[in-house]
Symmetry: C2
Subunit: 123 residues, 2 copies
């Protein structure tokens, strides 16, 4: 009812969506590959290595729709399609890198916690 409350839940929805996009299997991998330089579809596919054509297409579409990736079709034959990050995409990389850095710095603590937990609960 209260505007503040509505705004809060709205924000939560958006942030939740964002976390999902960031957390899904391929999106951030694609984005980091594109971070280095624009690439065509097949370069990206080979670079990532394990991704199916379908999932790469889907990921790129989602990222394009959200404005993180720009798609350019070169009218050559055979067709050539280039992908690159937009400004928004590059900016997104900043907070994501923050999370990545934090993870790198704290993997040990996490793994230690896991070992301890497993030690107490698995046997």
């Amino acid at each position: 009812m209260k505007p503040a409350h509505i705004a809060e839940t709205e924000d939560c929805r958006q942030i939740s969506q964002m976390l999902s996009r960031v957390g899904d299997k391929w999106s951030m991998l694609v984005v980091t590959y594109l971070g280095e330089e624009g690439m065509r579809f097949s370069e990206l596919r080979r670079g990532i290595g394990n991704i199916s054509q379908k999932m790469l297409t889907t990921s790129l579409r989602n990222l394009e729709r959200d404005g993180f990736v720009k798609r350019t079709v070169l009218p050559t034959s055979p067709p050539r399609v280039d992908y690159e990050l937009t400004d928004l995409g590059r900016e997104l990389l900043v907070p994501v890198a923050g999370l990545a850095d934090w993870t790198r710095e704290n993997v040990h603590r996490i793994e230690t916690a896991r070992k301890e937990y497993d030690l107490l609960h698995k046997p």
Copy 2:
């Protein structure tokens, strides 16, 4: 083969895991609820509102295993179980908040991109 390369892919695995944990449906919601103060299971359940008992349990177990959440069983009758963030959990909240803030600041750009995309591709 090269140590650097191995480290890189290892890091990627870890970071990818972290992004998944952060991006999964309930984890961060639980963590932000706990951020405010320790809570017992049922409070958490009611607070979040839409989560099933199963998923709340699962989320809490995962978070506990990774060392983000501490679980305390009070030997009363009926039993009472309290959850609270660990130091690690609270620290995690920092980079996550960074991403959340970035999202809040850029929702309009994302939604604008979506509308434009849908306008061009849906009809």
